[in-house]
């Protein structure tokens, strides 16, 4: 008996040992919340008109995926989000690098960045609708602008933080000027850049959904909004669940990519909450 309780206590303290068991343990709170959700509705603690149960949401989601509705709209939104993210990141890195290495670029872009940092990019959406109409362009441009700033700032910060002795060593070993940027500054600031991209990843979904809810013909934001307006709440929750899962998966994927590409970096190996 005593041996068993000691074993139990140790197990509780350090958690299960196998990987899949540990994953299950880690996600158990979510299962508990979902169960609570189902029970709260089943026992009529909350009006079904306000909160469809988890089961109803899942069946609505299933139906939407069978008729391709969820697939199509998700794809449209993901396309817009990632197109904007990719372009915004590439341009952002370029501008950040320019600002960190050239005084004139810094003097030109610096004030622009500092000023537009505080502008909610979603406020430009009505303007973009006026200029580009309702469609992909508005979404992609909005996302691009939203992703630009965090990437610029984090790239700039990353390059600025490269220890001078690293650059000095590279030059002492004969690195020509045009290679310093590409082979030394960029790898050195990769962690910073990726941190900015991760923030931009969060933004790209927010902006895409925002645009689609404000005015769009397609997209998961539009779907959620439409079902909400028409009172089909199970479907609305279904769409919501879908995008939450997608966003989570994208974040995890980026984290995994980061952990691989930056496996040489000292500071990346720290336990984190919220990813």
């Amino acid at each position: 008996m005593k041996v068993m309780s000691v074993a139990l206590r140790t197990w509780l303290r350090s958690g299960p040992r196998s990987v899949s068991l540990r994953a299950a343990w880690h996600y158990l709170p979510i299962a508990i919340v979902l169960l609570a959700w189902q029970l709260v509705v089943d026992f009529d603690l909350v009006d079904r008109a306000f909160l469809p149960s988890f089961g109803e949401t899942l069946s609505a989601l299933w139906e939407m995926s069978r008729n391709g509705e969820i697939g199509f709209n998700l794809l449209v939104s993901i396309y817009r989000a990632f197109a904007g993210l990719a372009m915004g990141s590439i341009i952002g890195v370029a501008i950040g690098l320019a600002m960190a290495t050239s005084r004139r670029a810094d003097e030109f872009f610096g004030p622009l960045v500092a000023t537009t940092y505080s502008l909610p990019k979603s406020s430009l959406v009505p303007l973009f609708i006026l200029w580009f109409g309702i469609g992909d362009v508005t979404s992609i441009v909005s996302v691009l602008l939203a992703c630009l700033l965090p990437v610029i700032v984090s790239t700039y910060h990353g390059v600025q933080s490269v220890p001078p002795v690293i650059v000095w060593s590279a030059r002492a070993m004969g690195t020509p000027h045009h290679l310093i940027l590409w082979r030394i500054l960029l790898p050195s600031s990769l962690l910073s850049i990726f941190t900015g991209v991760r923030i931009a990843l969060g933004f790209c979904f927010v902006l895409t959904i925002s645009v689609e809810m404000i005015a769009a013909k397609t997209g998961i934001g539009k779907l959620i909004f439409l079902y909400g307006e028409n009172g089909a709440y199970a479907y609305m929750f279904g769409g919501l669940l879908a995008i939450v899962v997608i966003a989570y998966a994208a974040d995890r994927a980026l984290l995994a990519a980061m952990n691989y590409l930056l496996r040489w970096d000292d500071s990346i190996h720290a336990a984190h909450v919220g990813g």
């Binding site: 880690h26 996600y27 158990l28 709170p29 979510i30 919340v33 306000f50 600002m99 810094d106 003097e107 030109f108 610096g110 004030p111 622009l112 960045v113 000023t115 537009t116 940092y117 505080s118 502008l119 909610p120 979603s122 406020s123 959406v125 009505p126 303007l127 609708i129 006026l130 200029w131 700039y156 910060h157 990843l201 969060g202 979904f205 927010v206 895409t208 959904i209 925002s210 809810m213 404000i214 998961i220 934001g221 959620i224 909004f225 079902y227 909400g228 307006e229 709440y233 609305m236 929750f237 919501l240 995008i243 939450v244 966003a247 989570y248 994208a250 974040d251 909450v273 919220g274 990813g275």
Partner: protein
């Protein structure tokens, strides 16, 4: 970001330095005015700077600026306060209690990357179209970065600091309040600073989507009726609000946490 160590001082010098700093912004404004005046673009798409300024004045006098702005700011701040209070508490709890961390970690992990603006229809359904839904949406969105930032700050408190406090007889009940919370304040503050624009964005965007007063709703209204100068005015209002709040926060920092050494 750029500093000139040898800039001349005195009022003329400062004005000149200020001008030199702002030249890209002035360039943008001048280019804007020239393009708009030159007839390259229809005024529907790009009104002149002067038209926008005129419209700003008109709106201001009519009370169409202060009114909606107050509404939006009220919602943003109420939501932010809720998020800060609860977020900090939860973050500290997660740092000190293993069970709290176990229970909340996956929830925070899922909620953090999720585009919480997608919850607008739900919040409207549950809490109506007026203030409450927007405030709660802001709180819902801002609580997660506050939790994460607080958690990391609390966890980073050097264990020798905690051990010293324990050695000097601090009971567990007081540890959180007298040691960990003060030590985490700089992190909390920088978290708030980063979250303020988020609060504004959510408030504005929720208003754009669902209406119900505030700058966002006013902006959408103007756009629907193709009142482009008004659209520009509200965009600039949002920009100015964000800028001013950031400055205010920086000032506040000196006042609230004078003992901590500066970081960018």
């Amino acid at each position: 970001m750029v500093e000139r160590a040898d800039a001349p001082y005195g009022p003329i010098g400062l004005a000149w330095a200020g001008l030199r700093y702002c030249y890209p912004l002035l360039l943008v404004v001048v280019a804007w005015e020239l393009v708009a005046r030159g007839g390259l673009v229809r005024p529907l798409f790009l009104p002149t700077v002067t038209a926008v300024l005129e419209q700003f004045w008109i709106l201001l006098v009519e009370g169409e600026i202060v009114g909606p702005l107050t509404v939006s700011l009220y919602r943003a701040f109420a939501g932010l306060m809720l998020a800060v209070v609860f977020g900090v508490f939860i973050g500290l709890l997660m740092a000190r209690s293993k069970w709290a961390k176990w229970a909340l970690d996956p929830l925070v992990s899922f909620a953090f990357p999720a585009p919480k603006i997608a919850f607008v229809p739900i919040f409207i359904l549950w809490f109506g179209i007026d203030h409450l839904s927007k405030i709660l949406l802001v709180a819902f969105t801002c609580i997660f970065p506050m939790i994460v930032v607080t958690y990391h700050g609390a966890v980073a408190v050097s264990r020798t600091v905690i051990w010293s406090a324990e050695a000097m007889g601090t009971p567990e009940s007081k540890m959180l309040y007298r040691v960990i919370f003060p030590a985490t304040k700089p992190h909390i503050f920088s978290g708030v600073r980063v979250t303020v624009p988020v609060a504004l964005i959510i408030a504005f965007t929720a208003e754009m989507i669902a209406g119900g007063g505030g700058v966002g709703a006013a902006l959408m209204f103007a756009q629907r009726f193709f009142q482009t100068p008004t659209v520009f005015v509200y965009i600039l209002i949002m920009l100015a609000t964000g800028l001013i709040l950031d400055r205010v926060l920086l000032r506040l920092r000196h006042w609230l946490i004078p003992w901590h050494d500066e970081w960018a």
